[in-house]
Amino acid sequence: MIESTRFGKYGGCFVPETLMAALEELEEGFRTIVPGAAFQKEMDYYLHEYAGRETPLTFCRNLSRDLGCRVYLKREDLLHSGAHKLNNALGQALLAKCMGKRRIIAETGAGQHGVATAIAGAALGMKVEVYMGEEDIARQALNVARMRMLGASVLPVRSGSRTLKDAINEALRDWVANVRDTHYLIGSVVGPHPFPTLVRDFQTVIGRETRAQVLEKEGRLPDAIVACVGGGSNAIGIFTPFLDDVTRLFGAEAGGEGPGGRHGATLCRGRPGVLHGTYTYLIQDAFGQILESHSVSAGLDYPGVGPEHSFLRDEGRVTYRAVTDDEALDSFLYLSRTEGIIPALESAHAVALARNIAPELGKDDVLIVNLSGRGDKDVSQVAALAGDRL
C-alpha cells in the first residue's frame, strides 16, 4: 500500500483498483531506479548531448528597458522539440524502458507533450501511441504531423469536449486495459501519485539551472519568477528550487474570455475535487460534474491543475493570476517584436503576467520568465486571430 501521496490535503491516488498495482510498480521504479548511477548517467546523456541542455537564461535588453526591471527569459523554447515537455518525456520513457515496459501511451493537448513523447520513443526504440482530442487535432495540425513523422500513432478522441481532459480519460482507459506491458507517460504534474512528484522531479532541472545561472549572472537570487500554469509542470519545474527563498513566485492561468466568460483558470476560479486520480482545484458545477475549460492555448485548456499547485496556492507561497486570451495574444506579438522571440501561446500567458507585475518592481529588481516553449506551432492560429494587427 502506497503511503504519503499528498501535498497537504491535495493529491492522492483516486484510480480504479486495477491500476493500483501499476502505480505501486511505478513508485518502486521511481524510488529505486531513478536515483541510481546508471539511470542518472543515461539521463545526463539524453538531456545534455541529445536534448541540448542546459538552456540559456537570456538577459533581455529590450524587454528590460521597456518593463523597467532586469528581465531574463529561461529558454525552454530552445530545448530540442521546442518545449520543456521533453525533460519529462525522456525521463519517464527511460524509466519505463528500465522497468521492462514495451509500449508507451500519452495524452496531448497542444501536441507538445505528444511530440516530446514521440521523440523520446524514437530515441529509445519504444512504440508510442498518443491520445489527442479531435478539437485539438484540428487546431494543432503541425504537431499532429510531427508526431506521425516521428513514428508515433495519433489516436483521435471523440468523447466529451474532445480536448485534453478527454484525451487523459482515454489514456487512463487504455492503461487499465493494457497495464502489464504499457507505461502511461503523463505529460504534466497531474494524475495520481506518484505522477505529480515524478514529473516534478524530471522538470526541476529547469529551476536548478536557472538558480545557478542567475547566481552567476546577478550574484543574487531573483525577485520574481513567472510561469504559465495549465497542469503546471513547467511552473513546478522552475519554482521548486526557489520555494524556500524569498523570491516571489507567480503562476499565469488561462483567463480565457475573461470575467463571466469561459476560462481555464482553475486555481483562481475553481474549487477542490477529484479528477484524473487526484484531489485538486477543478472547474466544476455544484454537483461535481467537470465543466469544459477554455483557452486560446490548447496547452492550458484543462479544468484541473497539479495538486502541488493547489497546495502552494492555499499556502500563499505562489500567487496565481488569470491572463485572458486577448492579453496572451497581445504578449505573443509583443515578445516577438520586442525581442525577436516567438513564444508558445502558453508561454505568452507568462509574458503577459510579467508585464502586469513589472510595475511593482524596481529597476534593479530581477524578473525571470519561464519561456516554456516556442510559438511555431501557434503561428497559423495567431495569424488568423490577430488579423490586421499583423
Binding site: E17, M20, K165, G273, L282, G288
Partner: protein
C-alpha cells in the same frame, strides 16, 4: 447490521443477478420505469450508476448512457429522489455505483447519509482504491450502508486482505482488465482470482465488467462466484431504443429474464 444485500446473499439458492442501470438514463421518468422493470423481471440486486462527467472506468456503452443522463439533468439530488421513488414500491437491494467527485462535492458524510435515507443499501466508488477508502468506508458504515470495494486480477494478496477487512456487502471483482463493456469471454485469470478471494474472504464475490452471456455466468459461478453484475448489456437495450419507451422496457425486461433463467 445486516443490510438487504447481506440478507439476499445469505438466502440465495442460486447465483444472484446484479442488474445495472444508469440513473436518469434516458430521463428521470423512464429511468424509474426501467428500475421497476428490472426489478419485476427478477433481478436480485439493482445497481444504479450515479453519472460522472469523466467516467474513466467505463466503456462506450456506459459513457453514452451517462452522457444521456447528464444531459437530461441528472444530479445527486435527483439520484436520491429516484432511489426514494423506487424504494417506495420495492424491497429489492439497491447499490449506487459512482465516482469520487460527486460524493466529495456533496460531502462524503452527507452523501452516504442521504443515500441511506433514500433507501440505498450499498455504495461503490469506482476510483476509490484501498489507499483512499478510509473516509468513504467510515461514512458508509455510519450511515448503515455497505461499503462495496473493488478487487482486480492485479490486486496483490496483501492488498486483498486490506480490502476484505474494510469492505461490506460483497466484493466487486473486476472480471476483465479494462473498462466496462460486453466481451462474452470467460477470463481464466478471473476464474483463478475468484478461487483466490474465496479462500480468504467471508464476503460474497461478484464479478462484473464484460459479462453478458449465460456461459460466463455459469463458468464464474462454478468457480465460486456468488453472483454476477451485468451492466452494459442491459444499458445497451436502453440506448438502442431511445424515443421508443415501450420497446425499451420490453427489451430490458426480456434481457433480465433471460439472464435470470441462466442463473443456475
Amino acid at each position: 447490521m445486516i443490510t438487504r444485500i447481506g440478507r439476499a446473499f445469505s438466502a440465495r439458492t442460486r447465483p444472484l443477478l446484479v442488474a445495472c442501470l444508469v440513473a436518469g438514463d434516458p430521463d428521470y421518468g423512464e429511468s424509474l420505469a426501467m428500475m421497476r422493470e428490472v426489478d419485476s423481471a427478477g433481478a436480485d440486486i439493482i445497481e444504479v450508476v450515479m453519472p460522472f462527467s469523466d467516467p474513466v472506468a467505463d466503456g462506450p456503452v456506459m459513457q453514452q448512457a451517462i452522457q444521456r443522463a447528464l444531459s437530461a439533468g441528472m444530479n445527486t439530488d435527483t439520484l436520491f429522489s429516484l432511489i426514494r421513488d423506487f424504494r417506495a414500491e420495492s424491497e429489492t437491494p439497491l447499490v449506487v455505483l459512482t465516482y469520487a467527485n460527486p460524493v466529495v462535492q456533496r460531502g462524503i458524510g452527507a452523501f452516504y447519509r442521504d443515500a441511506g435515507d433514500a433507501g440505498a443499501d450499498g455504495v461503490a466508488v469506482a476510483d476509490v482504491p484501498l489507499e483512499e477508502a478510509e473516509p468513504f468506508c467510515m461514512a458508509s458504515r455510519d450511515a448503515g450502508i455497505d461499503p462495496i470495494l473493488f478487487v482486480s486480477q492485479t490486486t496483490s494478496d496483501s492488498r486483498l486482505e486490506g480490502i476484505v477487512e474494510r469492505a461490506g456487502g460483497f466484493l466487486y471483482l473486476v472480471a476483465a482488465l479494462g473498462v466496462t463493456g460486453m466481451r462474452g469471454e470467460v477470463d481464466p485469470e478471473t476464474i483463478g482470482c475468484i478461487r483466490r478471494i474465496k479462500r480468504i474472504s467471508p464476503l460474497p464475490v461478484v464479478p462484473g465488467f464484460g459479462i453478458s452471456s449465460p456461459g460466463q455466468v455459469h463458468a464464474y459461478s462454478q468457480a465460486g462466484a456468488d453472483g454476477v453484475i451485468v451492466g452494459s448489456a442491459i444499458v445497451k437495450e436502453v440506448g438502442d431504443r431511445i424515443g421508443r419507451p415501450h420497446e425499451m422496457r420490453a427489451a430490458v425486461g426480456q434481457r433480465v429474464r433471460a439472464l435470470v433463467s441462466g442463473m443456475v
